[in-house]
Amino acid sequence: MAEFLETTIDKFIFKVATDRSYSSEGLWVKAEGDRLRVGLSDFLQQRSGDVAFAEVKPEGTLLKMGDEIASIESIKVNISLTSPVSGTIVKVNPAMTTTPESINQDPYGEGWLVILEDGNVTKAALLDPQAYLALMKGQAEQEAKNQ
């Protein structure tokens, strides 16, 4: 069961799960044995808005860090998400086709994107939960000021 760091900015509460690492873009990576599970942070899903469609690269795709891993269309934006790690996609979350709103409803659980094998995590490229919390807090505060 994941535990969370939490921050409130304006009327929004953002959670950061403490059992995984994050890219500065807001994707999380969780090691599960020799596999890596990837998904969107709570901040990224809230910032993106309600997800209408998620198109994830198919199983078997070999990804290098920085390659597009998925694209998401929400009520606010279209986003191309880049992979925070390298590896081969061995499983795509079927919910991305049937219920992409699970990204909004449960970003650290049911709303995961893919599972990678033979993954290579460049530790320097990822942030620990505390560092990501500080980064996203800065981004969120800046957005709140701009509104």
Partner: protein, 141 residues
Amino acid sequence: MSVQRKVVIVPCSGIGKTYGTVSREAAYEIVEDLRPKDAQLVALSMLVLGDESTRAAVAGNQAITIDGCKLACASKMVKENGGRVAQEIAVLDVYRRYKQFKPNGIAELNEGGLHLAHALAEEVAISIDNLRSKNKEGQNA
């Protein structure tokens, strides 16, 4: 004498939001073109302001709400004002069924948005027909 009450259509009031505009375009098409005799438009803003005749319309009739986002203001306000929501529709759910109609624009919708509004209006028109035939069955029973 038989009385058939109109179905109240309550769209999102989100100004400056594409999905709100889609909901309103659909609502206009329903009450002006598709089911003018069977449907009545209620402005959510009047409900929020507590307008008595609007509250009475909502309290006395079945309502179909069309929400532009997950805050679901239309559905919530109808319920808070004692209304009976026969069907809650979210524009996003409709868009998921019509991916080819990508809505854009606010004051004026793009072609995709207009097509989406039309598809939504047709779905609501069918819902209105179903509600009214159920009501007739109820009266005849």
